[in-house]
Symmetry: C2
């Protein structure tokens, strides 16, 4: 990719795996609003799929995607081949939130690794976030952009990219925009198109459960372990498998037993063979 | 570090651990020659020292270093504290030459990892090159330089940095300059100052052996395993421990049994408690 950043102009970058939907469009519109130039990448990154995952069948509606990018006034599209991103001999990886800091604490102890890549989705998709961190580093370096746009639906990914930017001193501003939802609450995802009508109905239970749990907390419920058990029981009636339903700290992603002002409720479930993720955030109300 | 790259100007970057010697000076002079602005960093990176290594006693002659940088007309010095480079919660790493490519070969097989971080010094200093790759990535991102200058004495490091730049698409040109030597052949190193006069004499055996081996090859010797055994026997008479003496491929760093036009002879030895490394290169003669 030739550098598209021009002298004195700002460049907004929206990395995607294609199969674009209104969630992506919201990122592109914000990038368009905040920058002189908008660059979108479409790359179904083999590095972040497990061997038993849906790399091969991942949707690739190129013509439709290209039309959409044109309609949104995107300036540049970067659509590399896998062999260009990972040439023969490629053998590097970026690990985020996995290793102890080389800097001992004043006490002589090493800082404990919080393991943001190994909880939630990381627990069920080993290597996934290394693949994400590696390709994001590569794409950021290639793009030379000022700002990068990600959706809040992939909450853990946004936390890891934020840590990546800080830990490796990447010169880019991270913008995380709200999840876009269908009318019934289902978070938009390229994987939603895998769902048949029956599965599509079942999938509603994911946002319903998360919003119900958030509502309980906003109305004073403080027994988080019990609330989580109730949420799991509720979800189980609809989805086919639950990878996790957790109440976590927004930054460390550690499971919370005690209420705190800022929390994230996150879930990953299978409906049929389709793995769906979603999350909602609890923040102190502004008064 | 505020970005020092200025519009339309070139920036040369010389990353060092301080304790500057004529080897560093040759890098700085070349950077001065090839760029509008020269930036030097001094950072004794805890991330690349093992727990039993010489991090604490590593020489830090700040006043002398600063004088030298001034005399060489260096424009900017970046001298971060460990806690700035590795703030609390830092938990990322860059692994180069360690992981299989996410891209399968057309045959369906994955590309074999050549393990450039696990041979030679990597075998004896576990984690060392992760520490190097991580700090180099950070420093490159902070510097925003056009060109980076490294010495050929740390041959494996230069191979790993080249791979790092390629694999992660870092926008920087690598310049590797020849090893500078004392009159008797000893490669300049900040660690040479650990040597007492007796050890200093013994250390000569390292370049002597390497140059003798190269000479043998240039005069037609082709039995590399025998030559290596002879070299080890010769070294053993002088140094206190040999980590390795290897004849390797310049790019893959694999040990060679058969002659090829380009080869690197590399050694790491202890003289007293001081670990010294050195290497010489064999290239096809230009006719």
């Amino acid at each position: 990719m030739a550098k598209v950043r021009q002298k004195g102009k700002t460049l907004g970058f929206v990395p995607t795996m294609g199969a674009l939907h209104a969630g992506h469009v919201s990122l592109i519109k914000k990038a368009r609003e905040e920058n002189d130039i908008v660059l979108v990448s479409i790359f179904v990154n083999p590095g972040q799929f497990g061997t038993k995952e849906d790399l091969k069948k991942y949707p690739r509606p190129r013509v439709k995607d290209h039309k959409l990018l044109k309609a949104e006034g995107v300036d540049y599209l970067f659509e590399p081949k896998a062999g260009d991103m990972y040439p023969v001999g490629f053998s590097s990886a970026v690990a985020v939130g996995e290793v102890p800091s080389p800097c001992p604490l004043p006490s002589g102890e090493r800082v404990r690794v919080r393991g943001i890549s190994h909880v939630l989705c990381g627990k069920f998709r080993p290597g996934h976030f290394r693949g994400v961190a590696t390709v994001v580093t590569k794409l950021f370096n290639l793009a030379g952009a000022c700002r990068a746009y990600f959706g809040a639906k992939d909450y853990q990914q946004s936390v890891i990219v934020r840590r990546l930017i800080r830990d490796l001193n990447l010169d880019i501003e991270l913008r995380v925009l709200p999840t876009i939802r269908e009318k019934d609450g289902l978070a938009l995802s390229s994987r939603n198109r895998y769902l048949n009508p029956g599965e599509r109905k079942k999938a509603r239970a994911i946002p319903e459960t998360l919003f119900w749990m958030r509502n309980e907390i906003l109305h004073g419920v403080r027994d988080l372990p019990k609330l989580r058990r109730q949420g799991i029981a509720q979800l189980k009636q609809h989805v086919d498998r639950i990878d996790y339903l957790e109440i976590v700290d927004p930054e460390t992603l550690e499971s919370l037993e005690q209420f705190q002002p800022e929390m994230v409720l996150a879930a990953a479930c299978y409906v049929g063979k389709t793995r769906l993720i979603d999350n909602v955030t609890i923040r102190p109300s502004k008064k």
